[in-house]
């Protein structure tokens, strides 16, 4: 008997996943079900031959894979054993299988024309220059942020920036706001994200409207999402980096949309339609009209003063 319910602990929402998974039929569905029947929910049962009876046990939460999310993800067409050892089909699993070497993104996507547009090589290079890379020995890898079982192309397909922001920020918060996860990789003391950002005006609005990576990565023009997470002393702290005409956000958060909009001739369109950034939302027409009105008023005043001076001289 297998009970149902309880999802995994991966970050972010999975809006739209159910619909995607409903229309997709994996050629490996039945094979994968051999794994999912235990790893697809919070409990599993097996026959204990020593005891001679069925045993029901709790599945370790890190080993639970949500079916719906998996079949809605970018890797939905895979069989579990494409990435994991085929020896996992035996139960109980051999202990040494836990030590299996996991693939990283670049192992499959690197130097492949099919994935050229995503610039995985550049992402890998950035990752290796990021602060995260120093924790690779402790077990840091692509998967700490991007769960391969649920990963879905996000900002590129997003029509709702708020959801994308929430999704992306939850990736960071999964470790940086959860000390249990954080201390798996680092011996540093627990950080309180809220108090560390006390200096940030309208903190709540910022947290809802921009991603952590806007300030904590170095922007790279050739990839869509910057991966070079920089040491905290390099984090953006100047308001005018974003609140300005050439807002940093145009090359980070709004990069993809702004490229599309520019192609249509609507510069700043995405900001106008989805967001509001003081200082970046300048309307060129209003600016021009404002300047003309101001000059006209100043002109009238100067003319009036001139007539008054002429009259006085007379």
């Amino acid at each position: 008997m297998i009970s149902t319910g309880v999802s995994g602990s991966e970050p972010g929402s999975s809006a739209g996943t159910a619909a995607d998974s409903a229309t997709f039929k994996s050629p490996f569905y039945d094979d994968n079900e051999l794994c999912f029947k235990c790893h697809g929910q919070s409990t599993y049962s097996y026959t204990n031959e020593n005891l001679g009876r069925q045993v029901k046990a709790i599945m370790f939460s890190e080993r639970i894979i949500n079916r719906e999310r998996f079949y809605g993800s970018n890797h939905k067409s895979f069989a579990c054993t494409d990435c994991h050892s085929s020896e996992y089909t035996n139960f109980p699993h051999a202990g040494e299988l836990r030590m299996e070497q996991m693939y990283t993104c670049i192992d499959c996507h690197g130097n492949d024309e099919k994935f050229a547009q995503f610039h995985f090589e550049e992402i890998e290079k950035e990752y290796q220059e990021s602060v995260h890379y120093q924790y690779e020995e402790q077990g840091f890898s692509c998967w700490k942020c991007h769960d391969p079982h649920s990963y879905k192309i996000n900002i590129r397909n997003s029509s709702n920036l708020k959801e994308t922001i929430l999704y992306d920020n939850n990736i960071c918060l999964n470790c940086h706001a959860d000390y249990d996860h954080f201390q798996l990789l680092s011996d540093k003391k627990e950080i309180n994200i809220i108090t560390r950002h006390d200096w940030l005006l309208n903190q709540e609005s910022h947290f809802k409207s921009v991603r952590c990576i806007e300030c904590h990565t170095k922007v790279n023009d050739s990839i869509l999402v910057a991966h070079m997470v920089r040491p905290v002393e390099y984090a953006v702290k100047g308001c005018n980096e974003c609140h300005s005409q050439n807002s940093l956000l145009m090359s980070s958060l709004y990069k993809f949309q702004s490229r599309e909009q520019r192609a249509d001739g609507f510069l700043n369109g995405v900001i106008l339609n989805q967001s509001y950034v003081i200082g970046a939302n300048r309307n060129e027409y209003l600016n021009l009209i404002g300047l003309l009105i101001f000059l006209a008023v100043a002109g009238v005043i100067v003319t009036h003063i001139s007539f008054r001076i002429i009259k006085k001289r007379k």
Partner: protein, 208 residues
């Protein structure tokens, strides 16, 4: 030269605060709207501009409440009442005076009296400024200060963008009003007489 006591103390204080707060709001507002990556010509940085704009805006709102309350409980509101009769022709004759008549030595059409503090053009622009533009400026400002209460989308455009456009437009129009207002205050019997009136409370009766 006779003097009329036209500006009671509460109006003078309100007016002084209103003017000072408006100057702060213009400088800080411009600093926010036109900030750039390299700190440019504007006097205050973005973070400081936001802080002082918020403080000045709250004080301006309180000051505006004082103004409206004062007008309700005193008789000052009567000076703002626009008469429908001859509304347009009165506006035109005042405009003609400013644009030509005063240079030909004509008498002003609506001299200041105890019962007429403002000429028709003043009444009209002051009414627009204080009872139309100011409430819109304050309401849109509250919407920007508390973005969570602002409607998210309006005809598929960000509600905050529309609120911002309204706020910036009203702020600009009132800044232009302030510029004209300060200039027209030099049109007294001497360029400084009306400024003195706003300090002393007494208006020189033979001027506009």
């Amino acid at each position: 030269m006779s003097y009329i006591y036209l500006y009671p103390k509460w109006i003078r204080l309100w007016h002084l605060f209103n003017g000072l707060l408006f100057i702060i709001l213009i400088i800080t507002g411009l600093s926010m709207q036109y900030t750039d990556k390299d700190d440019n010509i504007f006097l205050v940085g973005f973070a400081r501009a936001v802080k002082w704009h918020n403080i000045a805006a709250i004080l301006l709102t309180i000051n505006y409440i004082v103004f409206v309350t004062g007008n309700v409980i005193t008789k000052n509101f009567r000076f703002y009442k626009i008469e429908r009769k001859n509304f347009l022709s009165d506006l035109i004759s005042q405009f003609r005076y400013y644009s030509g008549g005063m240079f030909r030595g004509e008498k002003q059409p609506f001299p200041v009296t105890e019962n007429r503090k403002f000429n028709p053009l003043q009444k009209f622009t002051y009414f627009l400024a204080m009872y139309i533009a100011m409430p819109l400026l304050i309401i849109s400002g509250i919407g920007l200060m508390f973005p969570e209460i602002t409607i998210n989308r309006f005809f598929d455009i960000s509600g905050l963008i529309l609120t911002d456009l309204l706020h910036v437009t009203m702020g600009f129009l009132l800044s232009v009003f302030m510029l004209i207002h300060i200039y027209t205050c030099t049109l007294g019997s001497t360029p400084g007489s009306l400024f003195k009136s706003m300090l002393s409370g007494y208006h020189e009766s033979d001027e506009h």
